[in-house]
């Protein structure tokens, strides 16, 4: 097992607002980010993801708990030492946050200037970084002359300027169209694979998770309610929050509205069967229903690929006696196939 580059220990962050009640943005979170991995922190807006990531580079100080990055407990550091620690943590943002008063090269050079790197060395490093993100020819352009995807690539180059072993991405692709999102995600993957940078991605987008994450942590109301391998969490979500997120991300289970419409057209019992990477899954499903004398009609579902494995759900309308349907579901469960009746 590789070492943790980030370790959050019982981290809590309260916001106290005058005249309003205290808001708990992050609630007793324990979380490790392993060196070299891409960890996606997912959840709906307001779940505390953005606060969590800002605790990692100490843009926010925790109310209690410890934040350890590369073996250093940030909560004990002075403002001065914290600045040095932040130079070893890159960060990119949803709105890119580029300096409009500086050129592309000037933006990328900024962290190097802050770190006191000499001009000649700075210029060489800027050129190297712009080449890596494919924007060497735009070095003298100003940010407003760039497209959204280009801006984020500049953001990535700037974040990597001081060679940090850790990159934090706060909704880095949420302001981009799908095509540009894919482009930026593949760049982030290169950052991880080619440069060996550990990446912590905050996102609510399934595409981001699917394309780059090794592990995923699900946040809900300030807590990390579930975490683990991406495929495991998505194929067998245990908590209500994770189920809800996975369902909306994969679009494979009918939502309440769809279900109401389906019921209008399909009077039989509606059963959803989880699709996993198990070989021969379809034959087993077909056989289980057939053996019990239950006829089925496929009415909803979706199958996708996640980390090179199959994932999804299929919803059938079943026609047969209640006992027969129960027997079919029993048989499916006996094979380790998860089923759920849509009610």
């Amino acid at each position: 097992m590789a070492d943790s580059i980030v370790r959050l220990g019982s981290v809590t962050k309260h916001y106290v607002r005058a005249g309003a009640k205290t808001v708990t943005a992050v609630d007793d979170v324990d979380l490790d980010v392993t060196e070299g991995e891409v960890l996606a922190v997912i959840g709906y807006s307001g779940a505390g993801k953005s606060t969590l990531v800002r605790l990692v580079n100490a843009l926010e100080r925790p109310t209690s708990g410890t934040v350890t990055v590369a073996g250093q407990d940030l909560t004990t550091l002075s403002e001065r030492d914290l600045r040095l620690a932040r130079r070893k943590i890159g960060m990119i943002f949803q709105q890119f946050n580029l300096f409009r008063s500086r050129t592309v090269a000037g933006n990328v050079a900024y962290p190097l200037k802050v770190a006191g790197v000499a001009k000649a060395e700075r210029d060489a490093r800027v050129a190297e970084l712009l080449d890596f993100v494919g924007l060497l020819d735009r070095a003298h352009a100003h940010p407003e002359q760039l497209s959204g995807g280009q801006k984020q690539r500049v953001g990535i180059a700037r974040a990597l300027a001081t060679n940090p072993p850790l990159l934090l991405a706060d909704e880095a692709t949420s302001a981009l169209d799908p095509e540009t999102t894919a482009e930026v995600l593949s760049l982030l993957r290169r950052v991880n694979r080619e440069l060996g940078v550990t990446v912590m991605v905050i996102t609510h987008e399934m595409d981001a998770v699917r394309q780059i994450a090794d592990r995923v942590a699900v946040m809900d109301a300030g807590r990390v309610v579930e975490h683990g391998d991406v495929y495991d969490v998505f194929s067998t979500p245990r908590t209500a929050a994770a189920k809800r997120f996975v369902r909306s991300a994969l679009h494979d289970r009918p939502d309440a509205e769809t279900l109401r419409r389906l019921r209008g057209r399909h009077p039989g019992r509606l059963v959803s069967v989880s699709v996993t990477d198990e070989p021969g899954l379809q034959q087993r499903i077909d056989a289980a229903f057939a053996d019990a004398g239950v006829r089925t009609e496929l009415v909803h579902g979706g199958v996708a690929e996640l980390r090179e494995r199959r994932i999804g759900s299929l919803t059938y309308e079943t026609t047969g006696s209640p006992a027969a349907v129960d027997a079919a579901l029993q048989a499916l469960r006996a094979h380790g196939i998860r089923t759920e009746e849509e009610v």
Partner: protein, 219 residues
């Protein structure tokens, strides 16, 4: 018109005095106001050096000084003039008073311009490990430069206006000239020439400010 022709030397000197008072007080108030404005921005609760106390005190000081009409301010500031310039009359004493009064106006304009700077870029600079002072001077001020230049241009017009009132305390300049040689002698030709000259100075100032702002904003 003969009144004007007879005093054309005084007129020339007056232009020089007006320009001297305006430009020197512009520079001095620009620097003082920038410092005070940055302090107001930085100490705003929730900002880089957020401090309810400092922000509150600075705010009160600025709000006390700023609404004082300049004519009254000129009278009120005499002890300070004596201490710093050594006299309460003449161009230098008036320039000092203008610079001081304008600094408070500039501070609010600087504060407004900087508050408009995207907090996201401040966060990006913090994430890069920059110091607070480094962020204020190296990121916040450059990012707010466009509105800052326009704000300074706006102040320049006010300063030229203040310099015209300097005539009241023998400060010289176009205002002094218009009153002494113009209205007091019922020579309105001289008044109008002075007004026209001030309009030209203001126009040129506005033009230069717009140019610079456009350059900074690249629009």
């Amino acid at each position: 018109m003969e009144g004007f022709l007879a005093t054309v030397d005084v007129y020339r000197t007056a232009i020089g005095q007006t320009l001297f008072m305006s430009l020197v007080s512009m520079v001095v108030s620009g620097v003082l106001g920038l410092a005070l404005g940055i302090a107001l921005y930085a100490t705003r609760p929730g900002n880089l050096m957020g401090s309810r106390v400092v922000f509150g005190v600075l705010g009160v000081v600025v709000n006390v000084v700023r609404p004082i009409p300049f004519v009254i301010f000129l009278a009120a500031v005499t002890p300070l003039q004596l201490a710093v310039v050594g006299t309460t009359v003449g161009t230098n004493a008036v320039t000092f008073a203008i610079a001081l009064a304008a600094a408070f106006a500039v501070s609010r304009i600087v504060e407004q311009s900087l508050v408009g700077v995207d907090p996201g870029v401040v966060e990006a600079a913090r994430a890069a490990g920059a110091s607070r002072l480094g962020i204020l001077l190296g990121v916040v001020v450059p990012e707010g430069l466009g509105p800052l230049v326009l704000g300074y241009t706006f102040v320049f017009v006010g300063i030229v206006d203040m310099s015209a009132q300097a005539g009241l305390v023998g400060g010289g300049g176009l205002g002094d000239y218009a009153i002494t040689y113009g209205s007091q002698r019922y020579d309105y030709g001289i008044v109008y020439v002075s007004v026209a000259t001030i309009i030209v100075i203001v126009q040129v100032g506005q033009l230069v400010g717009n140019r610079i702002a456009r350059g900074v904003l690249r629009r």
